[in-house]
């Protein structure tokens, strides 16, 4: 579990850090939102660090983090795992999708401390050595991307979509992949890639 350092009260930690992303998700604009002068929020934070142990792609990492650090920022800025992308920081676009204990989650709306004790899988951990995961291979084969920025999130979402049993038909795939925006508009190829990969995944 997390160990708030002395000086940062547990109560303060819970009422600020933990609630901030929820507010951000609902009202779009507190912690991850844009800073606008005159709209100062009351989200005062203690400066203390917390020790966080993250298990990412099978590797255990011990980090000393500001408790406000989100999972995506921990991955990118603290662990150098930059495959996970930030597209909005508001849980709106899906680019930051990772697996937490096999379930797809938005890492921009997940605090790093809340990921402790879970198995996190990012795009860097999906392939088996040099052998691409069937979903990765299918994305290449079907040109299921263009700029590639949403791709890590699309692929992790797609793998989960298949495992959840939500890839039964094109319509179902489209529906269950609609949380992952692709501004380049590669949607029809993404659906084709998922259809292709799902058989190879044994689904």
């Amino acid at each position: 579990m997390t160990n708030p350092t002395p000086g940062a009260s547990r109560r303060e930690f819970l009422s600020t850090a933990a609630s901030a992303p929820l507010v951000a998700g609902a009202a779009a604009g507190v912690l991850g939102g844009e800073a606008r002068a005159q709209t100062t929020t009351g989200a005062a934070m203690a400066g203390g660090q917390v020790l966080v142990t993250l298990k990412v792609n099978g590797q255990t990492h011990r980090l000393s983090l500001d408790p406000r650090v989100t999972l995506v920022d921990a991955l990118r800025e603290h662990l150098g795992l930059t495959g996970t992308k930030v597209g909005c920081n508001h849980g709106q676009c899906g680019a930051c999708t990772v697996h937490k204990d096999g379930v797809r989650v938005l890492s921009c709306l997940t605090l790093a401390v809340a990921a402790e004790g879970s198995e996190i899988t990012t795009i860097e951990g999906l392939a088996d050595g040099d052998e691409l995961h069937p979903m990765q291979a299918a994305f290449v084969q079907h040109d299921a991307y263009q700029c590639g920025y949403c791709t890590p999130g699309q692929i992790l979402s797609a793998v989960a979509c298949v495992k959840e049993g939500h890839a039964g038909s094109d319509a179902e795939i489209r529906e269950y992949m609609s949380g992952n925006l692709c501004r380049c508009g590669a949607y029809v190829n993404i659906v084709a890639a998922i259809n292709d990969a799902k058989t190879k995944m044994g689904a």
């Binding site: 939102g33 500001d66 800025e77 930030v86 508001h90 920025y149 791709t151």
Partner: protein, 760 residues
């Protein structure tokens, strides 16, 4: 020289593996030693002055290193606005004074040890303003309307004959006003800048579609030589025009990094991206289109109104395209700028054609209904082989073939030529068509091409892959021309240490870069062929060097005799041949190459001295309107395009598929809503700014026609980045009319608009 195919193999992207494993490095992915994190603070008023900016609370946040405001910001020498030949996104520089020119203007830059501290401190900067009432958009008090031709020497309004007189005598006339909404690019990748100084040398990591321009802009703004700056952007996470010009943040971040003596990484929020970079401005159009009794167009008047900022005149002037679409005999056009208190708009995918072709292609449909003609028939009746304004021929123009093939793929013959007459699954069905076009444009390009005797090749050019497949298509060009396997070609892009490539804008990148590669490849071929044919021995001795080509790892003559590359290189006595080539489009003088290196853009195309060059396409869509919910869906789209040589049928296909998705967005989803009281964007996020999601796009079918166009450029490539999303919005609106009888003259079409239909 070896010939490239007219429609290239659909080879998977050579950078595909990097993209699916997370190894493709975008600007914000580069690690720099011990970075400080920066966040912007932006204004909450659109017009007025800053009375005071209190950064004391922000400064107290643990970890904050510096808060820059107008009182202590580094002095930035503004480089000229892009529209005036410079690199800057807008002429006005924030943080250099108290003046506020638009909502969301940068008023402070916070730098801290951590991202979290920077975010917190950014919220704690307090501004007090002396606000003035802003003008937000068309129709607001305080906007100023200026006629483009009167304020800009470069602007001319295309004109021919006497359109007003012709329209008086026309049998059928459509006279209507059309409107398109404010749109923001919303590339998935957020804006960011990372600045790293090593001594007096600066490295910038920033998502870019023009690294040389960014280098010139940042160097100019900091007052340092360009060769002291390196810009890296090997992967760009979508750009669509938004990452071509230099925004204020780049030099500010670099100056902060210099002052603080450590690398600084600025991450811009999505909301801030709406106001600190460009967007597609709203437009209005007055159209008059007339035809005689049999549908022959006799006159066309197109007047456009475009919103721009107070300091900058940014106009897309799409009349330059609309007037060339049909055999109009009489044309009159006029473009006006409407100034408001907004950030400066800019290029967004098919900047001119998306709004202007919406107006034209809607009007053509309206006229077809008025005459009682099939809208495709009306278009084909008025097809032309010559540019109606200049009288010069189109290099290639397969409008008829595109429509005929598209009709076949779509099943257009099932169309019932009556409003509201088609139904399926209890829903109203409508078919709509529109013409797609894009001027074939080119820019100077330089490339270094290397061929090793072992059969490996390398392409080095500061072009960009913004999702366009540039890595792959340039590798295919080199592989095809040098006769080596695709997987033996390496491509380096997006780095100012490489030869200067074209801006990735105006659909110039592939055509210009491949033309330069062809020049370099020819020089390599000639070196090897000369050595082999002038040699005293060897299978090619005495052969005509012009007949010798590089093919399948061999140097071969027409009769099939030849030798392996390794032998050919042995004769040369080197292991590697490297050629640097500079390519200039027709009519561009040599100074443009120096300009390219110095960050100045020279793009030519569309109407040329002796010809007019465009790519064309036909887009057909079906819409379904639910009679109860009034929701409009697009279950299928067909697009057939003729765009010169297609380098890779798969990546090209993705481009136009994506373009058509953008067209659906333009027609049904995308609108940046503005609070007119405050000239403020309301839905400045990617949930409330609606873009098409996976569930919105059901079935798309596209095809490319073979098109051999030797006139447009060396490569015969016309460019594809923008063609696909031209006309789609009109095709959707035309289909909505067919289904419901509601004529959408304003996009995006909302459910409440459809309520005006008598059929629902």
């Amino acid at each position: 020289m070896a010939e490239l195919p007219l429609i290239g193999e659909g080879a998977p992207r050579i950078d595909g593996r990097l993209k699916v494993t997370g190894d493709a490095r975008y600007a914000a992915d580069f690690s720099v030693p011990n970075p400080a994190y920066a966040q912007l603070v932006t204004s909450t008023i659109a017009r007025g002055r800053i009375v005071s900016l209190d950064a004391s609370e922000a400064g107290k946040v643990p970890g904050v290193l510096k808060v820059y405001t107008h009182e202590n910001a580094p002095k930035i020498e503004g480089v000229p606005f892009f529209g005036k030949g410079g690199q800057a996104y807008q002429g006005f520089r924030p943080l250099q004074g108290v003046e506020i020119k638009h909502e969301g203007q940068i008023i402070a830059l916070v730098v801290a040890e951590t991202l979290e501290a920077a975010r917190e401190a950014a919220f704690r900067v307090k501004a007090t303003y002396e606000p003035q009432t802003p003008a937000a958009t068309f129709g607001d008090g305080g906007t100023e309307t200026e006629v483009a031709a009167e304020i800009s020497k470069q602007h001319t309004d295309p004109k021919t004959g006497d359109a007003d007189a012709a329209l008086k005598d026309a049998a059928h006339v459509v006279e209507a006003e059309y409107e398109t909404a404010t749109n923001h690019h919303n590339a998935m990748e957020l804006y960011s800048t990372t600045a790293h100084w090593t001594g007096d040398h600066l490295t910038i990591y920033e998502p870019s579609q023009w690294v040389y321009g960014l280098r010139a802009g940042v160097a100019g703004e900091l007052g340092i030589p360009q060769d002291k700056v390196r810009v890296l952007s090997p992967f760009t996470g979508g750009a669509f025009g938004s990452k071509g010009t230099v925004t204020a943040r780049s030099a500010l971040t670099a100056a902060a990094a210099r002052a603080l003596n450590r690398p600084v990484k600025l991450l811009v929020t999505r909301a801030q991206g709406y106001t600190t970079a460009s967007y597609r401005a709203e437009t209005k159009h007055r159209i008059r289109l007339g035809a005689d009794g049999d549908g022959t167009f006799v006159g066309f008047v197109h007047e456009g109104f475009e919103l721009t900022s107070r300091p900058d005149t940014f106009l897309v002037s799409g009349t330059e395209s609309t007037v060339r679409m049909y055999g109009f005999k009489n044309v009159r056009t006029k473009v006006s700028a409407v100034r408001a208190d907004r950030n400066t708009p800019g290029f967004m995918r098919s900047p001119a054609e998306v709004p202007y072709m919406f107006a034209l292609e809607s009007a053509v449909d309206e006229l077809a209904w008025k005459i009682g003609m099939d809208p495709i028939e009306l278009r084909l009746k008025n097809d032309t082989k010559t540019d109606p304004i200049t009288g010069k021929p189109f290099t290639t123009r397969q409008v008829r073939a595109c429509f005929e093939r598209a009709k076949e793929l779509f099943g257009w013959d099932r169309r019932v030529a009556k409003v509201g007459a088609m139904r399926a699954d209890g829903e109203l069905v409508g078919y709509g068509a529109a013409l797609a076009c894009y001027p074939t444009q080119l820019a100077p390009a330089a490339v270094r091409l290397t061929l090793e005797g072992k059969g490996r090749a390398r392409v080095q050019i500061a072009a960009h892959d913004i999702g366009t497949g540039t890595y792959t298509v340039l590798a295919q060009a080199a592989a095809g021309l040098l006769g080596v396997a695709l997987d033996r070609v390496e491509v380096e892009l997006g780095d100012t240490n490489l030869p200067a490539g074209p801006i990735s804008g105006g659909s110039v990148a592939t055509a210009s870069s491949v033309s330069a590669i062809m020049k370099a490849a020819e020089a390599i071929r000639l070196r090897l062929a000369t050595a082999a044919t002038t040699s005293n021995d060897g299978p090619l001795a005495g052969k005509d060097k012009e007949s010798v080509v590089l093919k399948d790892g061999r140097l071969v003559a027409e009769d099939g005799t030849g030798e392996d590359l390794t032998d050919a290189f042995k004769r040369l006595g080197v292991g590697t041949v490297e050629e640097y080539a500079e390519w200039l489009p027709d009519g561009v003088d040599e100074k443009a190459m120096r300009g390219l290196y110095n960050g100045s853009v020279k793009i030519v195309g569309g109407p040329m001295q002796d010809r007019t060059q465009f790519s064309f396409g036909a887009e057909l869509v079906e819409v379904r309107v639910n009679p109860r919910t009034l929701s409009i869906r697009v279950p299928r789209m067909v697009g057939v395009f003729a765009s010169g040589r297609i380098m890779n049928r798969m990546t090209a296909g993705s481009q136009v598929l994506g373009g058509m998705v953008w067209g659906v967005g333009s027609a049904l989803h995308e609108q940046t809503e503005i609070d007119r009281r405050y000239a403020r964007y309301v839905n400045d996020n990617i949930a409330e700014y609606l873009v098409p999601v996976n569930a919105d796009i059901v079935h798309q079918e596209i095809e490319f026609l073979e098109e051999d166009d030797g006139e447009v450029n060396l490569a015969g490539v016309k460019g594809l980045g923008e063609l696909g999303n031209v006309g789609t919005n009109a095709a959707v609106a035309n289909a909505v009319y067919h289904a419901t009888g509601f004529r959408a003259r304003k996009i995006p079409i909302r459910i409440e608009d459809v309520l005006k239909s008598h059929l629902v």
